[in-house]
Amino acid sequence: MGSESAKAPKIKLSLPLEYQQDLFTELRAEDGLVVLARGLGSLRIVTNLLHSYDVAGNNLIVIVGADERENAWIGEALAEHAAISRSPLARGLTQVNTDFSNVSARDKAYGQGGIFSITSRILIVDLLSKLLNPELITGLIVLHAEKVVATSTEAFIVRCYRQNNKTGFLKAFSDNPESLASGFNPLAATLRNLFLRKPSLWPRYHATVAKSLEGQKKAEVIEFDVPMTSNMRDIQNAILECVEVSISELRRSGTGIELDDWTIESALHRNFDVIIRRQLDPVWHRTNFKTRQIVSDLVVLRSMLNALLTYDAVSFHKYMEIILASHQPPPGSSRQNQSPWLYLDAANIIFDTTKRRVYTGKPQVSTNGNQIEPSLHPVLEEQPKWALLTEVLDEIERDAYLNPTIRDDSNGTILIMCSSNSVCKQVREYLQTKDVKAATGPDVDSTGDDKEGPSAAYMMRRKLRDYLMWKKNFSKANMALINENKKALEGFTDQATAAAIYKSRAPPNKRRRVRGGSAVAANDRNGTDPPIPLSTDKSANVTQLMDNIQITAEEAQQKEEIVVDELIDMEDFFELYQMEDLLVVHPFDGDMDDQILEEVRPRYIIMYEADAAFIRRIEVYRSSHNDRNIRIYFMYYGTSVEEQRYLSVVRKEKDAFTKLIKERGSMSLTITHEADLLDPQEQFLRTVNTRIAGGGRLTATAKPPLIVVDVREFSSSLPSLLHGRSIRIIPAMLTVADYVLSPTICIERKSVTDLIQSFRNGRLFNQAETMLQHYKSPMLLIEFDQNKSFTLDKFADSTSTATISSTSQDIQSKIVMLTIAFPRLKIIWSSSPYQTAEIFEELKKNQDEPDPLRAVEIGLEAGNNPGEQSFNQTPQDMLRAVPGITSKNLSRITLEIKDMQELSNLPQQQLDELVGKQIGGQIHKFFNKNVIEDED
């Protein structure tokens, strides 16, 4: 196998299929944007291509936009290739990410050359600071080309590269035609951003691809449409109803979202919440609380739809209880701030049915009027796919027994593919325990076939036991959290009474009505009311239920389930076991699946869940190896989210390719953007000082204008746009401000969401303070998004008029406070990053250029290394949420303590030394408070 390239060193490639070879030769010959259907192995093309360059040695190739797993895969594949073709010059992959932050080490690594995969933010900084000289780069490989939009960092990188280097190669890849095809003339726009001319489209129905994959032997595919149980169907319908109501509620709130084409089918689609969020995005900062609440409800509802199919009945019930608990209103709040879907009958059905899948009881009305359930007994509904899985495995066994003769290159291994690790775990557990005979207690119940044959009873009983244990703790935790709320609300004096009420259990009529009297509220089985019913007045029943599922002798023989994922030790398994009798359960993992197929070489594949891309991978695998037979079982729940999702993914990809091909057909091919790119003439004119009027001699200033930009700002689009306006960008680690325009002007940039956020946590106040200390004219830039509306005004609805009187909470009042506190702080309002770039240019006129060294030193405490002053944002924000943390002790903690984990484990005494006794106590209590054991 392998097509030999013309060059001298020997290259061994692993591209057995015709379309792969075509693509490879095409890419070696010229630059282009390759769009390959998912599952056709774009990474394999990339690695082979990289290898062909790697073998030659003496080059510097940069990969842009690869994520962590892709890096791992590329690195491994390159090493493997190098070993196979025994090329001494190949150097493999070097990763440059945040861990590789030492500048001198980076400098040295770049000097040695090789293949680098660099995080975009670091790469652009290095290119601008010439640490990595763009002229020395042999070529650029851009992955995920669909993400390269005009304002993205990746586009900035490509521009930077192309300006300084006209000869190096540039090849871009995408396996996501859907997002590439959105918008107007998307292909042309992406090509322009990438400075590329030639698109190369490879859908599954491309002639060569089809020929390669449908050639000689096809894989045997057996498809199963598994019906959901009626309970599952009821729950799914109820959830969909909730979704529908939530959406009509959104419509009513007058946010102007367009959902005319809304159908239940689109609700089943993977991303309906994302779509709505995107529609609302332009006006997000003006939406009211209710709208946001509904949007977050949609996220929760979608995760419920998904969990219904993937979780087992007990875990799903558990999940639903957590959702219910976390949606409990704080005491004293009105129905207004509740999630609307919780009031629906459908919600009641969801919670009720969910519970009924786990256990039931006949409710009776006892003497004192309390509803009690005299005999609970477990139901433990099994997922329909489990039984089918057992059947399929039996069939495979029979098949292997009856036709043992076929000797080919594949192992007898059975590969089971699932959507996620947690499903893998569930399937693994099921397979391990399905033959353990479960208890034959007094209640032979709807687990059904407990005569003989495998069932999940044992596993489910164990899960139910775990659940009941958990439930006790959870109720406690829940109570601890809610109790506290209550305390805070009622104030110090009422505390004793409140506690008393809780201790003596609230009488039934005193229970808070949680969800406005809906039927859900009456169903206190859900354990949401603070007087936790399960652990108190129903404890007898629970004990009974517990007895019902007591561990039997057979069960006791089984070893306890281990939490740790054995997949980590996968390599060990390969050494220990014969591949023949191995059964591998693995999650779908994008391009990594190709590797699994190659390594496991399965005879049978069971797709426990549907995945369009994986089917293609099997096709590719099957066609690449003529001597391997394979049979595929493919199962999905009929008329479920799963089925719809699968179908819509396939359809969308096809539509996207059709659109792209159409656009390519009508695209003018003479895109000559490279020619006008930074014409030297124009560059000269820009630097001409036009202030000398009256035909005086034109004098060109020595250099183009200059702005010092904080390195953290490179994740935004502004540096790229400034650069596009021929301003020289100096990346630096700034302690004070984000942009330094002149020795006196510095600017802190805030998007509207940032602004709200940093008003809330007080960061902006501190930033303004330090800027004023060091600069004469500090400015706050409030930058609106390009596509968002340019206003802070709320929607003119009834609720906003009500809240407008409550001062100091809305953003306007906060701006007022800020300007009163800092009269010298100026505010710039910009409707988009484009506008900001123009404003910066305007502000810089007639100003001196900033001194980058000075800008870096400003704000540093004496003797501090600039590097030590820069912080990671997320842990910093988390730290700010810890009680007792102020801006003063914050910097002390970040200097003394490494990370959050270390802080959480500090003993009280050490904390006291660090921040003082009082605050130390607060911090210690925050981390160590145990919501399960604490009584208060």
């Binding site: 957590i322 959290l481 506290e484 009042s813 406070m817 300007t819 506008q835 997320t874 160590n928």
Partner: protein, 207 residues
């Protein structure tokens, strides 16, 4: 102008502003006409000039002549600009530059109501301490815990609740291994990774 007993709590309005719809929207704070070089006097050291961008487009020199009149007197000089035109980019760029040169603070409003809201707020908050913007923390453990856990992207309230009730304390959750966190309901691989990485990411970027 109508003479009324002036109180220290009233906004002083220049008679020039008569007929400005902003005035009818000032409701929560008293105001009165008074002879002042600025359009509005909002406090001992604070004044505001009002500018409609529509007017500015027709009379670009107007605002500069007005600014000249109020030199030196006020510590905080607000230019309250009302965005009532669509092509606001050019005037706003110009005003940004001018605010730097002439030392005033630019505030934008998009309606007369919002402009009035700003004026009211300046008066009402004249003596208020800036506590509301110095960062306040949630009062209860539950809120604080939620705030803490939900900092990494994509983790929501439900997840926070599930996490802490599964591990008992925040400390245990922080120290938990990936596999342990993954067993919590609702915690998919991405969330687990974000959480795990966030609590182990160093506070400082190593030099």
């Amino acid at each position: 102008a109508i003479v009324r007993p002036s109180g220290p709590n009233a906004i002083l309005v220049s008679p020039r502003q008569k007929g400005n719809p902003v005035l009818t929207n000032i409701k929560s704070v008293p105001w009165e006409y008074s002879d002042t070089p600025a359009d509005y006097v909002l406090g001992a050291t604070t004044c505001a000039m009002f500018l409609s961008l529509k007017y500015h487009r027709l009379h670009p020199e107007y605002i500069y002549s007005r600014i000249k009149q109020i030199t030196g007197k006020f510590n905080l000089r607000v230019l309250l600009a009302m965005v009532d035109i669509d092509n606001h980019e050019d005037p706003l760029r110009e005003l940004a530059k001018t605010s730097l040169v002439n030392n005033f603070t630019l505030i934008l409003a998009w309606s007369a109501k919002e402009a009035a809201r700003y004026l009211e707020a300046y008066k009402a908050l004249e003596h208020a301490a800036p506590t509301a913007i110095r960062g306040q923390q949630a009062a209860t453990y539950a809120e604080r815990m939620t705030e803490f856990v939900t900092v990494p992207r994509g983790i929501n309230k439900t997840d926070a609740m599930a996490l802490v009730s599964a591990f008992g304390s925040i400390r245990a959750a922080v120290n938990a291994r990936k596999e342990e966190v993954a067993t919590v309901q609702g915690w998919g691989e991405i969330k687990v990774k974000r959480w795990y990485d966030s609590v182990r990411e160093p506070f400082r970027v190593e030099g």
